[in-house]
Symmetry: D2
Subunit: 254 residues, 4 copies
Amino acid sequence: MKKLILTAFSLATAFVAHAQLQPTKQTPESSELWTPVPRLVTPGKPSAVGSGFTAPSDAIVLFDGKNLDSWVSGNEGGGPAPWTVADGALTCAPKKGDIVTKQSFSDYQLHIEWRAPAKVDGNGQGRGNSGIFMQGIYELQVLDSYNNPTYVNGQAGSIYKQTMPLVNPVVGPGEWQTYDVVYTAPHFNKDGQMVIPPYITVLLNGVLVQNHTAIQGTTPYVGQPMITPHGPGPIKLQDHNNTTSFRNVWIREI
Amino acid sequence: MKKLILTAFSLATAFVAHAQLQPTKQTPESSELWTPVPRLVTPGKPSAVGSGFTAPSDAIVLFDGKNLDSWVSGNEGGGPAPWTVADGALTCAPKKGDIVTKQSFSDYQLHIEWRAPAKVDGNGQGRGNSGIFMQGIYELQVLDSYNNPTYVNGQAGSIYKQTMPLVNPVVGPGEWQTYDVVYTAPHFNKDGQMVIPPYITVLLNGVLVQNHTAIQGTTPYVGQPMITPHGPGPIKLQDHNNTTSFRNVWIREI
Amino acid sequence: MKKLILTAFSLATAFVAHAQLQPTKQTPESSELWTPVPRLVTPGKPSAVGSGFTAPSDAIVLFDGKNLDSWVSGNEGGGPAPWTVADGALTCAPKKGDIVTKQSFSDYQLHIEWRAPAKVDGNGQGRGNSGIFMQGIYELQVLDSYNNPTYVNGQAGSIYKQTMPLVNPVVGPGEWQTYDVVYTAPHFNKDGQMVIPPYITVLLNGVLVQNHTAIQGTTPYVGQPMITPHGPGPIKLQDHNNTTSFRNVWIREI
Amino acid sequence: MKKLILTAFSLATAFVAHAQLQPTKQTPESSELWTPVPRLVTPGKPSAVGSGFTAPSDAIVLFDGKNLDSWVSGNEGGGPAPWTVADGALTCAPKKGDIVTKQSFSDYQLHIEWRAPAKVDGNGQGRGNSGIFMQGIYELQVLDSYNNPTYVNGQAGSIYKQTMPLVNPVVGPGEWQTYDVVYTAPHFNKDGQMVIPPYITVLLNGVLVQNHTAIQGTTPYVGQPMITPHGPGPIKLQDHNNTTSFRNVWIREI
């Protein structure tokens, strides 16, 4: 430790030739902080069915492989979530519409696993297309991007129609893939302008694809990102007419 | 999709009463981007020995359980890394000094697993203490923080003597724990001031403990964070006189 | 314009050798956005008495040179602000205590001018010391830092006891100086942890001294930055026992 | 000061009921930092001809009202800057092409004043159109946006075709307006991806219009923002076929 201090000191003095020395005494205790004490969380275990971890103790489990109790239809009028549950997975029922969580969220860590259909049918945006919408509005794209060229701000790991992923770490159709997401909500002012944008960090299959990316606004299929003031919002999963599946879905408010 | 657009539109118009409509035509293609194409990366598999993932295809494996070929002594004069390798783990040899990677890094994703000794001996900063230094300078604390009160900016998951973790998701002594780190290097100007600080995001056992935290400077045991200009630097593991172990260590430049 | 596009395109294709071309048509209109329309603000004029600008049309004038109507005492029990107003300036009445605005704020742009006493009396922290506290808690230091060595995280332009200024652009004692501040409030979670820290950008006499600096917590004279959850807070001016003056104070919520 | 500490302490303890007290002693000196000492800069004076400040002592004056010595033509082949200098102002010579600084920059503070023609001719993008390009690539829009509706990501204060200004604080045609800009350069990786985007903060006539805005890529008239790796770049002023003028142009590397 002594050595470290000397090294840092030498570097600093080499750089700033006439730097002044601090005339006063420091103790180890003088940079200690004792409150607030971070809350205890029991982490999950390596997932038996999935990649990554199971839900930690403070997570809200949004899908545990058994039922759709945490979800409703995203169609006007709501109603029960019209997707199917089988073999521990939740699968899109094409043309039945999106599904959204009953609960709304602002700042969170989200874990979700997804799988494009094993049988490849179509290409580009037609293969295993779905999406995970932050606060119901900002889409993290889900797509079978394995040997499947499309526009790069529309491939898996992209913030749809905005920011491409840093790399493409997908696995093949029929294989489970994981998203680990850290998201903080935007803050709007009275004018409806974004004073702080949403920021998102994403690992896809454990590989960084978005690092503190500022989301520009909504992620429409047609048009530019829109600035649309809102409060807490649900997680939305998109029906894009493909039988894309999800499992091991949990969220922690941060 | 049509519905989404209408909803966003309704919100926007409700908010800005006299907003103008865009007089021109948008097509889906008009917000597509086709270059550069993100590089392919084959992700790792769920780790057999550890938690989380094995190294993806573009990672540099810093410790694969077999040898210390990627490391040297951090003592003045360097030389072979003096820690021990057994049972797939790398363990600190107390009083032999720190070890550092041969390679230097700037912006990266780091995966590293660590284990405090199963036999609890001591308390506070004396239990399973070690540290993982970003660029050899900025310490992500390693400590057996299971039922072990200490100053909060010195517990596991903290940026040492700076920023406490958001929560405490540690497991018990003798159990393996994982860090997944995203780090971007600081940028200094000619005066030696930080124009952009280092930013770090950390998951501990899959749970977010640091989110885009700005590192203030060095992390000394005694004294304030120092601003010390530097270029790329190694990963350093600290000898803090405890037999803390590490395994499954890999890094990806981002 | 055509040339720019070609240049950008050449660079991109040179870099990513096998990049794909976008097969579809873009029009100028396809990247236009028409709502929300930014609100009109009439800017101030170059200040007759001060440096920089007078208050724009949407600012709240906190001190216009005439009275202390926008301020109260920061002492327990409150009461009228005990500082003096003369010659268009507001001056600290030593030992009478701090003053705070009646209104509270979260995200804002603040303009404030200050002047250390012309007669130099004392040194270091004893010369023209005061402070401007964001949300009543986070201190932007005010000090006569003209040929006056002190600790660098305590000189004018510093976030007190945290972050030194990038440079030292002060003018001499008795001269008016300006701060232009952009500040966004922290966001806390239920645990009392900061999910988003306060960020501050500061120009001192028109020269950048803090650029999107993350504030670590409170700025005590003794001890480490504390994480202390709070809502909107006032601007506080510190009584540090010096007759430091202020004028042309306005704030805009952003 | 004692009171402040007690207050902060009360808040913290009220929040975290069983928080532990720090058992050790802090002194005022323990949070002081003495190096590096911020470099001295003599700030400018309130500008006689313009708004805001004249150049501080460490600025590079890019236009002082007299000549175009710091500029060259942006046309292929370069050559002398083909714009006109009269009455202390620099005015675009329509159809002669853009002009760029001889020097290149990365991280900086830029002050520049501009004026749309007093005689209004045309509307929308046709009124007083020009642009100030960061590193020659990222456009901060210049436009006579006084009672002149156009797309909001194309009005004065916008990052062109990306981010609208927070408010519209322009003055009328024929009046001088000021931009104060803080800009940090993007960082690219070997793949040509942006690891850190450019960030920009802009005051227009002293009013905040962009706050730490992440720039998404290039700002083309047609098409999406492109990710185009580059090093330091010049300031570029755009010939958009209008006789827009500039004056009091200076830049400081930060």
